[in-house]
């Protein structure tokens, strides 16, 4: 395994944790927070997930070297 692949996998593992946590968080906030707070929480958690997915796409798409 190359260093690049190892780093990519480590970053992917981290991102997977973020995605899992935000998914559970959206469910939890929906069940435990008032509607307005739950919507706001779901919004920021979704944005967090989107950032994490963007990072994954960026680090895996580069094959120029």
């Amino acid at each position: 395994m190359t260093a690049r692949t190892a780093i990519r996998l480590a970053m992917t593992a981290f991102t997977a944790v973020v995605l899992a946590l935000t998914a559970v968080g959206i469910k939890w906030t929906h069940e435990h927070q008032p509607p307005a707070g739950a919507i706001a929480s779901a919004t920021v958690l979704t944005i967090s997930s989107t950032f994490a997915v963007v990072a994954l796409v960026v680090i895996w798409r580069r094959t120029d070297k």
């Binding site: 469910k27 939890w28 307005a36 707070g37 967090s48 580069r62 070297k65």
Partner: protein, 192 residues
Amino acid sequence: MAHAAVGTSGSFLERLNSDWHEFAMRTFMVIVLGHWMEHFLQTFQIYVLGWPVPAAKGMLGMVFPSLVTSEVMHYGYALVMLVFLFALRPGFTGKLERRWWTLALAIQFFHHIEHALLQYQAATGHFFFGRPVPTSIAQLWVPRVELHLFYNTIVFVPMIVAMYYHMFPPADEPVRPQCSCAFDTRSAVSPI
């Protein structure tokens, strides 16, 4: 790629962004990942274990509750993040890595302002927006735990991408790195 000149002279900031950059980045990552672990654990305690929010203090917070409840600690960490992001930025010499690192710096700057507002309220006892506790701007809409997770993610993700480009510069990157962070420059690096 041949390693650029890694000097052993110059100002503190110049050395921090050349021959000390790799060590400084590693140190910064230990701090950031340690902080992340605390937030991961805190949200795990709430979302998965079902702990009440006030009782969920991560790992160190269980032993030292003031780490979670003290606004000074939160503000201090935000300031440390900001200083590291600013001080280590010149070492990101490539176009793409600099762009992503700057994005992280910009987001952290706003995050730091939010913590500064909280710190001011905690220090003066004058709470904004008619709230009974220190409240930041975004907290008007978003609960604190989720807001912290959000800020830490949107700061750290651009850092990840910047570090990736920094460690593996694109082949067409015209600017040569000044430090030893890139993987294919390590064999040519002088010891500090």
